[in-house]
């Protein structure tokens, strides 16, 4: 523990700005993955254990589209839509068959697909790690704000993610589609009896969750190396975010992700050897105070 360094950081505007923006950046990608995870759980009541693999697929799809076209915007769009489509196919062919089944069976199906996808990635893209590199548009010096440092690419990432968060919030809370999704989440039988095809709703939600994970993978690929199995570490952190924010709450996912980002960012200064532990400690503290998570519904 290094309280002196932590206090010194809090008393320095440049340190506060750099660490805060650093925390927001880490949190933003986590949010995109956790939001999809939370959305799927909230509506379908299943935990998608292969959500990290969708993030991995997004990264590889973006890498490939960028290699072929040299256009990063196209790579991001292609990866998000491609993974959304893959998630829809996965939901229709496999996951929909185990709704209402024992959670162990759902886990088994997801784990099987994780192994297949990891091996498929090795066969298609090779066992070696890959790196896409920073698109030329973002190869520029970082911005300096009150002594703090903010890379241009990360500013883009924050803006895109906030737009996605706002769009998602509007979709769920302010549109007819959102009402149908919420209705299907609360009572699928009644929703179905009212003439709404819940299979389409469930497939659509799963595809949207996949699209968000794919988008996260595509946004991460300029700064993170790609390797088969890369989805596992982000899955663990996404679960922590989902638990902190409340299972099923997109707003909770956003707050949880940003809090985890900030805890890690300032934790690395004050508790350099306990950053991971701090994250779990924070989750434990939240669960003690609010067992259903910050935005979760009681009971």
């Amino acid at each position: 523990m290094d309280f002196e360094a932590l206090l010194s950081c809090f008393s320095s505007p440049s340190c506060v700005i750099t660490q805060t923006t650093g925390g927001l950046i880490s949190g933003m990608l986590l949010f995109l993955v956790a939001a999809g995870l939370s959305l799927i759980f909230g509506t379908l009541k299943v935990v998608n254990f292969m959500h990290g693999s969708l993030y991995m697929l997004g990264a590889y799809f973006a890498y490939t589209v960028y290699a072929l076209s040299g256009n990063y915007a196209l790579a991001v769009a292609g990866a998000a839509l491609g993974v959304g489509l893959f998630a829809l196919i996965f939901e229709r062919l496999l996951m929909s068959r185990v709704y209402g089944s024992d959670v162990l069976l759902q886990l088994l199906v997801c784990y099987g697909v994780i192994l297949i996808l990891d091996d498929a990635v090795k066969i298609i893209w090779g066992a070696q790690f890959l790196s896409m590199g920073m698109p030329p548009a973002f190869q520029r010096p970082p911005l300096f704000i009150a002594g703090g440092v903010l890379p241009v690419f990360y500013l883009f990432l924050i803006v895109i993610t906030l737009l996605v968060a706002a769009g998602l919030g509007f979709l769920i809370a302010g549109t007819r589609i959102g009402k149908i999704v919420r209705a299907a989440a609360i009572n699928p039988t009644m929703t179905s009896a009212l003439g709404i095809n819940t299979a389409v709703v469930f497939g659509g939600v799963f595809a949207l969750g996949g699209l968000l994970a794919g988008l996260a993978g595509a946004l991460a690929v300029p700064v993170r190396s790609l390797v088969s199995g890369m989805g596992f570490s982000i899955l663990i952190e996404s679960f922590i975010v989902t638990v902190i924010g409340g299972m099923g709450s997109v707003a909770g996912a956003l707050v949880g992700a940003l809090l985890i980002g900030l805890v890690r960012s300032f934790g690395t200064i004050g508790f350099p050897l306990f950053t991971d532990g701090l994250m779990f400690l924070f989750m434990t503290a939240v669960l003690i105070v609010r067992p259903s998570g910050l935005f979760g519904k009681e009971g």
Binding site: F129, F153, S265, T268
Partner: protein, 421 residues
């Protein structure tokens, strides 16, 4: 008691043996050559899946390439090498089980342990029990061969050693630090045994070579961490003049990519021991100029035609340039072939006797030769060097070679300090 079944079995065995003898008498030479042509089975436990699969594959490639040369030259009196590989997935228990199976079930007479340190120590205990000849090719942890309590009479090592690297690294970094006035240092290495050992040894010797150096902070990201933002911002706050890192492979690539967009390398000189390996150098798309690195493996160091030819033939065969693990495994086959030719045997005790103190010609030697030191059964004299990287071939144009006289002097002192000598 009279055992009817046993008697029948004995009779059948007798008839089989008689038949074989009759056949041998009739055919003569073919019977003898069948015995002589029994392949020399070499078992290779290694990592063929997961994050470091690429390195395991490059180990297997190098072993196969060298074995094919031996076989093409006639083998050992007609006996050809047959390689049997097993995937440990980087898990020590699987490395040990695979080694046991390779020896007991597959009949392997020799083991090339192409495992990382975690697996190598598990393999070492199997070798202690089964007394087969073994060469560790990838474990850099010095104690594997330096510590007499861990050492095994039939186990050798052709991998580079951590202590050798630490001395050369600190010597190079110390001289650059003196020349450029780099006094404040920080480290950012993976938080597990290799990262901690490597970094603490480097910093210890850096202080020896340049006592004015001051350590202003440490960052310990976990192994395979995808996001280094928190570590990078911490380094930015500490504003060190130089940064040492033992990150490797994809982790190092991610760190460099993420640190570059923060402009970290505009204010801080990076000394990354694992950068100058082809898999890493070719993966970084926006490699910043001026990163200092040890030469893990590049075809231009040692600057000999033999080394370049070996790298080119590997690339022609497998499509990629060799890795650090490739040369270490090729060297193991080089030593094995020399020992088998010298003893005309695959017997573990005879081979071990021949290997102790053996000096062979090698494209990877600092002076064209490498010696298997008798006292601790590990290699010395291999090429070690540091230099500044550029983003295209030859990647490290000017290498400062490590001085083996200095390495051995400091290593002896280290061994005494550790109670190994």
């Amino acid at each position: 008691m009279f055992d009817t079944k046993g008697t029948i079995r004995q009779r059948r065995n007798f008839i089989k043996a008689a038949g074989a003898l009759t056949g041998a008498a009739g055919l003569g030479v073919p019977f003898i050559s069948r015995a002589q042509n029994k392949p020399i089975r070499i078992g290779v436990p290694t990592i063929l899946s997961g994050r470091v699969a690429q390195l395991g594959i490059s180990s297997r490639n190098a072993i196969s390439m060298e074995a094919e040369k031996f076989n093409a030259a006639g083998g050992l009196g007609g006996r050809k090498i047959e390689i049997i590989t097993r995937d440990s997935k980087g898990k020590p228990d699987e490395a040990a089980n695979n080694t046991r199976q390779l020896i007991n079930s597959e009949g392997c007479e020799i083991i090339i342990s192409a495992e990382s340190s975690a697996g190598a120590f598990a393999v070492q205990e199997v070798i202690r029990e089964l007394k087969v000849l073994c060469i560790h090719t990838n474990s850099e942890t010095s104690s594997l061969s330096a510590d007499p309590k861990i050492r095994v009479p039939t186990a050798f090592r052709t991998a580079r050693q951590g202590i050798h690297d630490a001395i050369v690294s600190a010597s190079y970094a110390g001289s650059v630090a003196k020349a450029k006035g780099l006094k404040t240092w920080m480290s950012c290495s993976p938080d597990y045994a290799y990262g901690r050992d490597n970094t603490s040894l480097f910093l210890e010797y850096l202080k020896r070579f340049h006592p004015e150096v001051e350590l202003v902070g440490e960052a310990w990201p976990k192994l395979f961490q995808p996001d280094y933002t928190e570590n990078i911002t911490k380094i930015l706050q500490a504003k060190p003049q130089a940064l040492y890192s033992a990150l490797w492979a994809g982790d190092l690539v991610s760190f460099v990519d993420q640190a570059s967009i923060y402009g970290l390398f505009m204010q801080t000189s990076l000394f990354a021991i694992n950068m100058a390996d082809y898999t890493t150098l070719t993966a970084v798309k926006n490699l910043p100029a001026g990163i200092h690195s040890a030469t893990r493996y590049i075809k231009t160091f040692p600057a000999s035609s033999d080394n370049a030819a070996w790298a080119d033939s590997y690339k022609a065969e497998y499509g990629d340039y060799p890795t650090n693990w490739s040369w270490e495994n090729a060297l193991a086959v080089g030593f094995l072939v020399s020992a088998m030719r010298k003893t005309k045997s695959t017997d573990a005790t005879k081979l071990a006797g021949a290997l102790r103190g053996m000096k062979i010609k090698s494209p990877f030697g600092a002076d064209g030769t490498i010696t298997m030191r008798a006292e601790d059964q590990t290699t010395i004299g291999y090429a070690l060097g540091w230099g500044m990287t550029i983003p295209k071939e030859p990647y490290v144009p000017n290498v400062t070679p490590g001085d083996w006289k200095t390495i051995l002097e400091y290593e002896t002192e280290w061994k005494k300090k550790m109670g190994y000598a």
